[in-house]
Amino acid sequence: MSDPVLQIENLQTHFFTDRGQIPAVDGVTITVNKGEVVGIVGESGCGKSVTSLSVMKLVPNPPGKIVGGTIKFKGEDLVTANEKRMRDIRGNEIAMIFQEPMTSLNPVFTIGNQIGEAIRLHTKASKKQSRDRAIDMLKKVGIPRAEAIVDEYPHQLSGGMRQRVMIAMAMACNPELLIADEPTTALDVTIQAQILDLMRQLNREAQTAILLITHDLGVVAEMCHRVVVMYAGNVIEEGDVRTILKKPKHPYTKGLLNSLPKLEESQERLYSIPGNVPIPGSLTVGCRFAPRCDQATDLCRSEMPQLKAVGDNHFSRCWLSE
């Protein structure tokens, strides 16, 4: 599995606001190989959603702008690609599903219209063909009565069903990369498991690579081959899912794992990492995690560590892991 579909290299997406330039994503490097599921984990505001929107070039502009780095999709740089080329790619070669299935579908168009629209946009399919394809896709994502649902409106479906529709819409043109931005966060736990199952099945059958953005390490453990941990606009640790979950190197990753409730141990109180994620733009010199890190040294506070190999396919951005 070393055939890269997506190579994000030193991506910098900044927001230009009245309060100045805010580096929401500041030098992120991520590679996704064909058929691979890569997770991006991090707290709210660490830049994971902005990274995913940057790949689609859907960061609201103004105020957001990609100011540096490259995003190579099958070797083609998307940062320099024009809008027309991006429209060809969006929904066709790279598709995206979002966190809020309740609001991500347009309430005034039928399910069939919305799925069919994506199909007609990227293929030469007729209305009839795209409708048939929409029904097929609905069946594939496990929607009962697909022939009837295709003519219904989003408000007639539950949240889980709507997320299945979103997945059907995203998969309709057989994309090579699916970006899923917190796809199960808004769903019940049982529905979550179903949606994850469905995504895993699509990954296996269609060999679609998935970039899965989440803050839920449980989802990562279940879904991903590889994990990228982000903090304050940077990648701070990256590695195989087993390595990251069993032998994390970075104090932040360790902290995240420690703050998960464990069934086998009775704990008085859950561990939590002291402090808060720094407000983007307020970053100073040194390691960004240093102010919250209990092992921080003077070196950590004065100089920013680089992302370095600490093992087989395992990288960490920490002075202590060297």
């Binding site: 689609m56 859907l58 991006m86 429209r87 060809d88 790619i89 969006r90 929904g91 066709n92 598709a95 995206m96 979002f98 809020e100 609001t103 991500s104 579908l105 347009n106 309430p107 005034v108 168009f109 629209e117 994506a118 946009l121 990227h122 409106y153 408000h155 979103m166 819409m169």
Partner: protein, 336 residues
């Protein structure tokens, strides 16, 4: 099916509204202090004339008989007889109504086409120079007194430039032969193209004068509604599909943003159909507003009464149409 049953339900809900309206209109003539017949005819009328008028108006019957007689009368489409001209109001009001309707349609087309598009573009290019200019013009538009705008138009385009006629519906030396009373239709049906051009020219100034305030309101409402919708998740979904921004705006966003815009369009159309008395007077437009205005001067109570009834009915029907359009645009509405 759901849309049909919703429509039928909604039409049935009109019955109490229309009944209530008829009671109000019925009361108007009876609410005149003292003897209506005396008030209508004036102090110097002979007792015989007053008694005759009381008989004509049915004022000698108990009020509930009077109301049911009145109801029976209007249900059959009989709006009574004008005291001034002695003619049937149902027949007399037709041409006036047609004139007002024609002017309203032209004004609203002007207001909707320009207002909606200006609002959309302003939202799309928010904070651009276009946005600032459009919203400034809209602000001036809503603030301008309509009679002043009408007079300025007449002075500039009719008096100074002599481009357009300032009063009337057609060229008085070569009047349109009315069939439907809608002059645009009449001239097209008769194939009189030079006449059609005359009619269109007569419509421009009053149409713009009447349409300016609705246009400004529609532009502002469309802009704010679009700005709200453009931030919605489904708009991002549409873009993530690879849809061009034009279709994202004009298909996905616009349909969702239309509900408040439609409300304003409905209300403004209702207002204009009520006959804009000021504009119709300034432009010598033979519409309902002027008809009722003249009737007030003549103390022609049956005409006032029927005129109000017709206008109120039109207002209610337009609101019904708007409600039905809501359900057509937003499928969630009919299930509420």
């Amino acid at each position: 099916m759901a849309l049909l049953s919703y429509s039928i339900r909604r039409i049935f809900m009109l019955i109490p509204v229309l009944l209530g309206m008829s009671i109000v209109v019925f009361s108007i003539i009876r609410a005149i202090p003292g003897d209506p017949a005396l008030t209508i005819l004036g102090e110097k009328a002979s007792p015989k004339a007053i008694e005759d008028l009381r008989e004509v108006l049915g004022l000698n019957n108990p009020w509930y008989i009077q109301y049911f007689d009145y109801l029976k009368q209007i249900i059959t489409g009989d709006l009574g007889v004008s005291l001034h001209s002695g003619a049937s109001i149902t027949q007399e009001i037709g041409p006036y109504l047609a004139a007002t309707t024609e002017l309203t349609i032209v004004s609203m087309l002007f207001a909707v086409i320009i207002g909606v598009n200006a609002g959309i573009l302003s939202a799309w290019k928010q904070n651009s120079w276009f946005d600032y200019c459009a919203m400034l013009i809209a602000l001036i538009g809503v603030s301008m007194p309509i009679f002043w705008l009408g007079l300025m138009e007449q002075w500039f385009f009719a008096q100074e430039l002599k481009w357009l006629p300032s009063v009337g519906r057609d060229n008085s030396r070569n009047p349109v032969e009315a069939i439907t009373q809608f002059y645009i239709l009449d001239t097209i049906m008769a194939g009189q193209w030079d006449q059609l051009w005359e009619v269109v020219k007569h419509l421009i100034l009053p149409g713009v004068a009447l349409g300016t305030i609705p246009m400004a309101i529609i532009a502002r409402i469309t802009r704010s509604s679009m700005l709200e919708v453009m931030r919605a998740d489904y708009v991002r979904t549409a873009r993530a599909k690879g849809l061009a921004q034009f279709w994202v705006v004009y298909k996905h966003a616009l349909k969702n943003a239309m509900i408040p815009v439609l409300t304003v369009i409905g209300l403004q159309t209702g207002l204009l159909l009520g006959g804009a008395v000021l504009t119709e007077t300034i432009f010598g437009w033979p519409g309902v507003g002027r008809y009722i205005f003249t009737a007030i001067g003549n103390r022609d109570y049956p005409v006032i009464q029927s005129g109000i009834l017709v206008i109120a009915t039109i207002f209610v029907l337009i609101n019904l149409l708007v409600d039905l359009l809501y359900a057509y645009i937003d499928p969630r509405i009919k299930y509420r």
